[in-house]
């Protein structure tokens, strides 16, 4: 057990995967000698050589398309998109090929490849550097979508993504790169794909979240505990496949649910979660499933991101509106008046 940042955990996962399986390759923009702009691939070219970890020309459709061809040829590419918005040039390759190759070939070709995407904000980045793009991928059938919230998960989910027979979009919440916890790579602990984790147990309401939302939700739960409200926090870990079981059993227990997501709200992953929860837990719900999300605006600049990002206060406001006292929802009334 060592204390590791998420960045170190990811780096270690890549290193271990490169060591264990010679079919694994790492490539992308600046992932070679520089070690990536976030240093996630730091030292890999030195240790494994340019053949295993290398820089490509600057073209994201090219990176993903090259990975498709190399996966068809028997390799297991792990590619990096430098920032969320810079994966968009690869969208056609991802939606029309990465997601569909197995299906288009009736299962004869599989694409064991991982597309790593640092995403979301909170790091004072300028425009185009802080998009939350997970909803685009989860809505595309054929992609697994994974997002760790802890270093331990970062390590194991990335290892699992690399051995998975199918393409995985691996979303890294960039402001958690420097978060630390005890982790023990090599000593299997984290659960596999499709299993959510209850990060905190509670009885009064469930906060369902993922990636960058997890520490914020935990912080809100701590604060709520001070007010005598006992919140359960569920970290989804993998968005596709989705762990209905853990979410549903938590909400059936608590009877109330708030979904927390950093991305702009409209038709985001949080909408899917809210829709599923009320479909499955309707008779257990004492209040509507509420969502706490970013606003439906382009990601704001450093000076204003605090106004945009869901924080503990915004979550607690939503928790307050969960009608513990059976009064009508004030914000809804306000909305209707406006």
């Amino acid at each position: 057990m060592t204390a590791m940042t998420m960045a170190q955990a990811l780096n270690t996962a890549l290193r271990d995967a490169l060591r264990e399986d010679e079919r694994v390759l790492v490539f992308g923009e600046d992932v070679g000698p520089l070690g990536g702009v976030f240093r996630i691939t730091d030292g890999l070219t030195t240790e494994f050589g340019e053949n295993r970890c290398f820089d490509t020309p600057l073209a994201e459709a090219g990176i993903v398309g090259l990975a498709v061809g190399m996966a068809m040829g028997g390799f297991r590419p792990v590619v990096e998109m430098q920032f969320d918005a810079f994966a968009y040039p690869a969208f056609e390759q991802i939606a029309s090929h990465v997601a569909k190759m197995r299906n288009r070939t009736r299962g004869r070709l599989s694409l064991p490849m991982v597309i790593r995407i640092p995403y979301a904000g909170g790091i004072g980045g300028v425009e185009h550097h802080c998009d939350s793009s997970e909803a685009y991928y989860v809505h595309t059938p054929g992609l697994k979508v994974v997002t760790p919230a802890t270093p331990d998960d970062a390590y194991w989910l990335l290892r699992d993504a690399i051995t998975d027979p199918d393409p995985v979009i691996f979303m890294e919440p960039k402001r958690l790169y420097w978060s630390k916890d005890e982790t023990a790579p090599g000593d299997r602990r984290a659960a596999g794909f499709g299993r959510a984790a209850v990060r905190r147990e509670g009885l009064d309401a469930t906060l369902v979240t993922y990636g960058p939302g997890v520490p914020v939700a935990l912080q809100a739960a701590e604060a709520a505990a001070g007010d005598g409200i006992d919140l359960e926090v569920v970290d989804l870990r993998t968005l596709v496949p989705f762990d209905d079981e853990t979410v549903v059993s938590s909400v059936r227990k608590t009877g109330r649910c708030v979904v927390v997501q950093e991305a702009q709200g409209f038709a985001g992953v949080g909408a899917e979660i809210a829709a599923r929860v009320q479909e499955r837990c309707f008779h257990s719900l004492a209040a509507p499933v509420l969502r706490v999300t970013g606003f439906d605006i382009p990601y704001p600049p450093p000076k204003l991101e605090r106004s945009h990002l869901p924080d503990a206060d915004r979550i607690l406001d939503a928790v307050d509106r969960l009608q513990f006292d059976d009064a009508p929802d004030v914000l809804h009334l306000a909305r209707e008046a406006s």
Binding site: L66, A67, N103, T105, R106, F242
Partner: protein, 368 residues
């Protein structure tokens, strides 16, 4: 601090100013080009038989659309020299990345024609086994396959295999960003890939002049440091010779190669298209007189390599092939709706299992 580009390097990358040719429209040999060896007689005869069969297959497929047996078919009539030369230039363990228009090449590669037509028949998958045939699924999103081809070529190179990859693309497809990225990646990686542009002068309705202002598409190669050539794509002898050279170049580790073949799409874009809306019948007629099959036939007859009997037997084989295909296509293909959920992932997610159960409940529900 400064760069100097060597005139010789530059000239080595530029295509010939006139498309390479061995045989004129009327079947007579022209002064042979330098640097491109003439294919052997046996290979030319084989090419002839394949072109006859390819054309017959193509006509049959078009006929099948009229009978509702195919959802859609993009004909390559007039492009047979390209389709067959592309295949003949490759070894069996080389890879081919075709577009939707390259069914004739696939048939010539030896893939069961029913498999080739699977997708066009209304099924959801490519029909054949890409790994076994070393043919990627026929690709519709334009130019996207060219970068896959580079990846696969790079994979071969890294595995120490001496296979080559040929990526087919149309003139219109060269305008897409992915083509640019593929050429650049291939050149920087020095991948053993041949880009084969069938310039059939139209992208659906859009004529070449609206697609590019380049002197010829083959002039794109130098911008990536890729050796390039242009060839008369209706001259089988020339197309085969240039493509063979290109494949050898790639196989020898000398990097990628770009070939532009000037040809013409005789039929409409697909059976659903109406070509009279955008081109004059006179233009089509002019190209009839440049027909690649007639040209090769005349050429081989003139050279005494082919006689009436040889011609007849090629046509017989083609007829037989077409009639077998007709029969095979008369049977309705079996499609299993539950299989829709089987190949999204190696193992269906719980969500897909639920959805499959929903479909099952619908399909097994009593009619009311």
């Amino acid at each position: 601090m400064s760069v100097r580009t060597d005139r010789q390097v530059v000239d080595g990358l530029l295509p010939s100013p006139v498309p390479v040719r061995f045989v004129a429209e009327d079947g007579t040999a022209v002064e042979p080009p330098t640097g491109y060896p003439a294919p052997g007689d046996g290979q030319l005869l084989e090419a002839y038989r394949r072109m006859v069969l390819g054309r017959r297959f193509d006509r049959q497929a078009t006929a099948l659309t009229k009978q509702g047996r195919l959802a859609v078919y993009p004909s390559s009539r007039g492009q047979e020299a390209c389709q067959i030369a592309g295949v003949l230039a490759l070894r069996e363990d080389d890879w081919l990345f075709p577009t939707y228009r390259d069914s004739v090449a696939l048939v010539s590669r030896g893939i069961d024609p029913v498999e080739v037509l699977t997708l066009l028949r209304g099924d959801w998958h490519c029909g054949y086994d890409p790994a076994a045939t070393r043919v990627a699924p026929q690709c519709t999103p334009l130019a996207t396959q060219t970068i896959h081809a580079v990846g696969l070529a790079e994979a071969l190179r890294r595995k120490g295999e001496d296979g080559v990859v040929m990526a087919f693309i149309g003139d219109g497809g060269t305008s897409e960003g992915d083509f640019h990225e593929a050429l650049n990646y291939a050149a920087v990686l020095h991948a053993p890939v041949v880009f084969f542009v069938q310039n059939n002068k139209y992208a659906i309705s859009v004529p070449l002049a609206r697609q590019t202002a380049a002197p010829a598409l083959a002039y794109k190669g130098i911008g990536y440091g890729i050796r390039s050539e242009q060839v008369d794509g209706n001259d089988l002898v020339a197309t085969l010779s240039v493509l063979t050279t290109a494949v050898e170049h790639a196989r020898a580790g000398e990097g990628p190669f770009l070939v532009e073949a000037h040809t013409y799409r005789m039929d409409a874009h697909t059976n659903a298209d109406d070509a009279t809306r955008y081109r004059e019948p006179e233009e089509v007629e002019r190209w009839e007189s440049a027909d690649p099959l007639a040209r090769l036939e005349t050429h081989l007859r003139d050279r005494g390599l082919l006689d009436a009997e040889g011609i007849a037997s090629a046509h017989e084989a083609a007829e037989e092939f077409a009639s077998r295909l007709r029969d095979a296509m008369n049977a309705e293909p079996e499609t299993d709706p539950y299989e829709l959920f089987d190949h999204v992932f190696a193992d269906p997610t719980p969500q897909l299992r639920e959805q499959r159960a929903l479909l099952a409940s619908e399909l097994t529900a009593p009619e009311d």
